[in-house]
């Protein structure tokens, strides 16, 4: 039917002699393609009538009207496309009737009145001759529709032909028309042509219609420099090629081919309309090299991202585009992305683009941009966090490798004990695999600059406070907002020596009074007694000790010890597992006696000194914070009372960090030294006294006897003794 239309057009053109195929009406080709588009629509909607006319349709056409032109006219009327474009429909009327006759003559029952097809000397090619009457009437056109032609007939004496129609035949090869050098319009729609050929002499050809053939390549169009319309729809073309010289081409139809992509469009400087519907196109290039392109139809292809068609955004002339039937059209961002990137667009998918839509698109795009920036920022932060943690992990590893040499009783051999396969052996590096691919190099470069200095990380995420690296503990000195501090219920420690954590526990207790869940990972928890330190907290509901870097978790008894020692917290979960009554009983059974012995059998002075240590420690801390918050201090006091009250038989089980303990041992050593010296002196003195005493004891009986003897001798002569005594008394006076 398109050919029909062209015919009518050319009919007019013939009347005007000069074929001015709407060079002055640029809208024409638009309409033309619009028409084609509509046609395609209708075919898509189900009956395939036009592209591949069904026999039923064909026959009905022929039998009812047997007038292609009329049919075409009807079609045109129904699609209301071209009639108005041509302005005056009157032109068509004469040609219509005449062509009808022509048609009649070209009908299946060829009468031979007007056209005579005779076998030539060459057996394969029929020779066409028209009667002179016909020739005069239609000197410039020839229609050989539905003639069951398998080859092009030799057309003799028709050098003036401008329009030639071979629609709906079975022609496999274009030939025998090279003498028709004035041909402007050649219609070979619906034939079986496999290759474009035999056109090299038709230099004035403007319209070439090769729709619905079997063409595999675009070729042999080198001489057709004036080509205005090229219709190759419904063929088997896989790529666009050999068209760059067609600088006058305005309409190119490649719908329903096998194109996988679009490029090689250079040189098509006049192309205003490009139809690429129903291909398998995944990406489009070069469209920005088409200065006049206004309409581009990409419906029913395989375009899924905007990036693959982004060159469209650079085309300033494009005003009408279709993407329907592509994966991209299903995306939620489709419409606003397209509109945002192609401000020049007036129609999208056959619908007018309204200002409102444009506005929404720009708003959405702005939001998108913001989101992108935000996510970029986030990923930046994330990356920074990852790198920092990596760095902390590395440091920790270094530290851990060093520590076993210094303190052999902390070496972490336990972690590869065979009875616990779930144990992740100490390599923290594996837990944070390098994955820098996600970020561009510039970004990671700047990050690396940052990360080198970061040896710790503090993060508050919702109700979780995460601390990485021992430096992070200092953050507890910061002034946390009441809100943040109140919100934090989970505190997680990673890559920090437990002993260091112990020292900040009092701070933690005050700064984050609501922290209920403690998490430890890579904290070097190696001994059960370390859990004693947690008893000083206000409340702990949950405890999570990651086996990674905490060998204590390998012990069978650790959970029970925790339950036992921290029984005053009535803990609910340990490592994610609910604590049951049985667990509580078991804990008591295992360690109850320890507590009993510790409390009841400990001599009073020891009890006081041990409890005193705890109290002293608290006191020391209180002194530090005193004056600032008297309220807190009071609370603290009652708290420690509660701790002592609830827990007396356990309070003796406390934990002093290794450093502190060693310090104390040193202190004790000093005291011991002093005591030793003191005792030595004391004992020496005592033994000396004892020795003297013993010597005295030995001598004493003899001495006594001697003394008595002396006394007895003295008083033997009573008179003289009396005299002596009197003498002494008088002497005294």
């Amino acid at each position: 039917m398109i050919p029909g239309k062209y015919r009518s057009v050319s009919g007019r053109a013939a009347n005007n002699v000069e074929f001015k195929l709407n060079k002055e009406t640029p809208s024409f080709s638009g309409r033309l393609l619009q028409h084609d588009l509509e046609r395609n629509y209708s075919s898509r909607q189900g009956d395939g009538r036009v592209i591949s006319p069904s026999p039923r349709n064909k026959s009905s056409c022929i039998s009812s009207t047997t007038n292609v032109t009329e049919l075409c006219g009807l079609e045109m009327k129904t699609t209301m496309s071209s009639l108005s474009a041509f302005g005056d429909s009157s032109i068509q009327t004469p040609s219509k009737s005449r062509i009808r006759q022509g048609c009649h003559s070209a009908g299946p029952n060829v009468s031979g009145d007007h056209i005579h097809l005779a076998s030539s000397s060459m057996p394969s090619f029929p020779i066409l001759q028209r009667s002179s009457e016909e020739k005069i009437l239609y000197s410039d056109r020839l229609t050989l529709e539905r003639q069951k032609l398998t080859v092009c007939p030799i057309i003799d004496g028709e050098e003036h032909l401008r329009l030639l129609n071979f629609q709906h035949n079975f022609i496999t090869r274009i030939q025998n028309i090279s003498n028709l050098q004035r041909l402007i319009f050649l219609d070979l729609y619906d034939n079986q042509i496999e290759e474009i050929s035999g056109l090299s002499t038709l230099r004035s050809l403007r319209v070439l219609l090769l729709g619905k053939n079997r063409i595999k390549r675009i070729s042999n169009l080198e001489n057709l420099k004036s080509l205005d319309v090229l219709d190759l729809h419904g063929n088997q073309i896989t790529k666009i090629e050999n068209v760059s010289h067609l600088c006058d081409l305005r309409v190119l139809n490649l719908a329903r081919n096998l194109l996988s992509h679009v490029d090689n469009l250079n040189g098509l400087d006049s192309l205003t309309e490009l139809n690429l519907r129903h291909n398998q196109i995944t990406f489009v290039r070069d469209v920005d090299n088409l200065p006049c392109l206004q309409r581009l139809f990409l419906s029913f292809n395989n375009i899924s991202t905007f990036e693959s068609v982004c060159c469209l955004a650079d085309s300033s002339s494009l005003s009408d585009i279709t993407f329907d039937g592509n994966p991209i059209a299903q995306e939620s961002w489709y419409k606003h992305t397209i509109l945002q990137n192609m401000m020049q667009l007036r129609q999208l998918d056959m619908k007018r683009v309204t200002e409102e839509e444009r506005r929404i698109a720009s708003v959405v795009a702005k939001k998108e941009e913001e989101k992108k920036r935000e996510s970029h920022k986030q990923s930046l932060l994330k990356e920074k966090k990852r790198l920092t943690i990596n760095n902390v992990a590395r440091k920790w590893d270094l530290q851990q490798n060093r520590i076993p040499n210094i303190a052999p009783n902390q070496d972490r051999k336990v972690s590869d004990s065979p009875q616990d396969p779930s144990q992740l052996h100490g390599s923290t590096v594996s837990a944070f695999p390098e994955e820098t691919g996600s970020l561009d190099s510039g970004l990671s470069n700047t990050l690396q600059g940052l990360s080198v200095t970061d040896t710790h990380l503090v993060e508050v995420d919702g109700d979780t406070l995460s601390l990485y690296g021992s430096g992070a503990l200092e953050s507890l000195d910061r002034n946390w907002s009441v809100q943040t501090a109140g919100m934090v219920t989970t505190v997680s420690f990673t890559f920090i020596e437990f002993d260091e954590i112990v020292q900040v526990l009092p701070k933690l207790k005050i700064k984050f009074p609501n922290s209920l869940h403690l998490k430890f990972k890579e904290t070097n928890l190696v001994m059960l007694q370390q859990f004693n330190a947690l008893a000083q907290l206000r409340r702990v509901d949950q405890l999570t000790i990651d086996p990674q870097g905490n060998p204590v978790v390998n012990f069978t008894l650790w959970k029970y010890y925790v339950l036992f020692r921290l029984s005053h917290f009535s803990m609910q979960k340990i490592n994610g597992t609910e604590v049951t009554q049985n667990d509580m009983i078991m804990a008591e059974r295992l360690f109850g006696i320890l507590a009993h012995v510790a409390s009841s059998e400990l001599p009073q002075y020891r009890l006081i000194s041990i409890l005193g240590d705890v109290r002293k420690k608290q006191f020391r801390y209180l002194l530090e914070t005193k004056g600032k918050k008297p309220g807190l201090v009071n609370e603290e006091n009652s708290d420690s009372k509660r701790l002592v009250g609830e827990n007396t038989n356990r309070a003796t089980l406390n934990y002093t960090t290794r450093d502190f303990y060693n310090e104390r041992l040193e202190e004790i050593k000093e005291k011991k030294k002093f005591c030793k010296m003191y005792m030595e002196d004391l004992v020496k003195e005592a033994t000396e006294i004892n020795m003297k005493n013993e010597a005295l004891q030995k001598l004493w009986p003899q001495m006594f006897i001697e003394l008595v003897r002396d006394a007895v001798i003295e008083i033997r002569n009573k008179n003289s003794y009396m005299k002596l005594c009197l003498q002494q008394i008088t002497d005294q006076k």
Partner: protein, 331 residues
């Protein structure tokens, strides 16, 4: 203070030898440490309590290791305290690793050295597979020997090494026969047969050692008895034999006999009282003692209930919790 030996020594040496000085020093040290607290309730009271606790053996609780190992009495007291506090762990049937035992030791003595625990574990595990699980009683008796006689054992180890190398450390004149024998030892085919040293020679050396050893050592007669049963023995074989020897345990006097190891009625009573105090658990704790038993940690012992005392006595006479008799309590 009126024992006859007293007269044989000068007073000071006597006091030192009897460790009286140690305790007096420590008492003064403690006094110094807590002088504010103690001055509140009287120095006399403090000394009374101190020496009472020394007599009861509770003075070593939570003390530093240097003090705990200072005297045999302290060592024995520590052993007893360890047994008393963690008997329940053994009773529950848990097999623990060396490190876990070490942690338990550290609960009582924060700076207890890992080395000692390791050595004790070596006795149980015969010097290999140090990550193996051990039963409480095995560990405890091995630990007792290692801890109480640690200096003695070190000397023994040195003697053993010398003997292995073919030297006789105790005698100046090397007996040619035995030394010759030891020099021929290296042939590998005989190695398994001739593993260790000859018991009689070893015994002789140890006798000498006991005589001149200034630290406490096991009664020489009992050592002789241990060595008289075998022809040859290895170092760890010797230690295992020591640790399993009844008489030595009795002579040491810190721990009950193996059969009675899990038995401590006074403490069990105390424990029941404590269990009854667990808030909210009164009923289940008293009515259903089995509830406290762990369901699945040590599968062979699942059936072994935590029995009330009067049952427990009999059961534990059969099953002392050592590794080779795990299932008897179920019968």
């Amino acid at each position: 203070m009126l024992s006859p030996e007293r007269l044989a020594l000068p007073d000071y040496e006597y006091l030192a030898q009897r460790h009286v000085l140690t305790y007096m020093e420590d008492a003064v040290c403690q006094l110094l440490e807590n002088k504010e607290d103690i001055s509140q309730y009287g120095v006399a009271r403090f000394f009374t309590e101190y020496f009472n606790s020394v007599c009861q053996g509770t003075h070593i609780l939570f003390r530093e290791f240097s003090f705990i190992q200072a005297t045999p009495h302290n060592r024995a007291s520590f052993l007893r305290a360890f047994w008393k506090c963690f008997r329940t762990v053994g009773k529950n049937g848990d097999l623990l690793t060396m490190r876990e035992y070490h942690c338990l030791l550290q609960l009582l003595c924060p700076d207890f050295p890992l080395e000692l625990t390791q050595k004790a574990a070596r006795i149980v595990l015969m010097d290999d597979a140090m990550d193996c699980l051990m039963s409480f009683s095995d560990f405890l008796f091995a630990f007792q020997i290692q801890f109480y006689y640690s200096e003695f054992l070190e000397s023994v180890a040195a003697i053993y090494q010398d003997l292995l190398a073919g030297k006789n450390p105790n005698t100046v004149i090397v007996p040619t026969s035995s030394s010759g024998q030891h020099r021929q030892r290296p042939p590998l085919g005989e190695a398994s047969l001739l593993e260790g040293v000859e018991a009689s020679l070893f015994s002789q050396c140890l006798e000498n050692l006991c005589d001149r050893h200034k630290y406490s050592c096991p009664p020489p007669a009992l050592v002789k008895e241990v060595l008289s049963n075998v022809q040859r023995l290895t170092f760890y074989g010797f230690l295992v034999a020591l640790s399993k020897h009844h008489g030595i345990n009795q002579a040491l006097g810190a721990l009950p006999d193996k059969g009675d190891l899990m038995h401590d009625p006074a403490m069990d009573e105390e424990l029941e009282r404590l269990l009854a105090q667990i808030p909210g658990l009164v009923n289940s704790a008293t009515a259903n003692p089995e509830a406290g038993c762990l369901p699945s940690r040590t599968p062979p012992r699942v059936g072994s209930p935590w029995r009330p005392l009067h049952h427990a006595r009999k059961v534990e006479a059969e099953s002392d919790g050592s590794t080779e008799e795990t299932d008897e309590s179920e019968t």
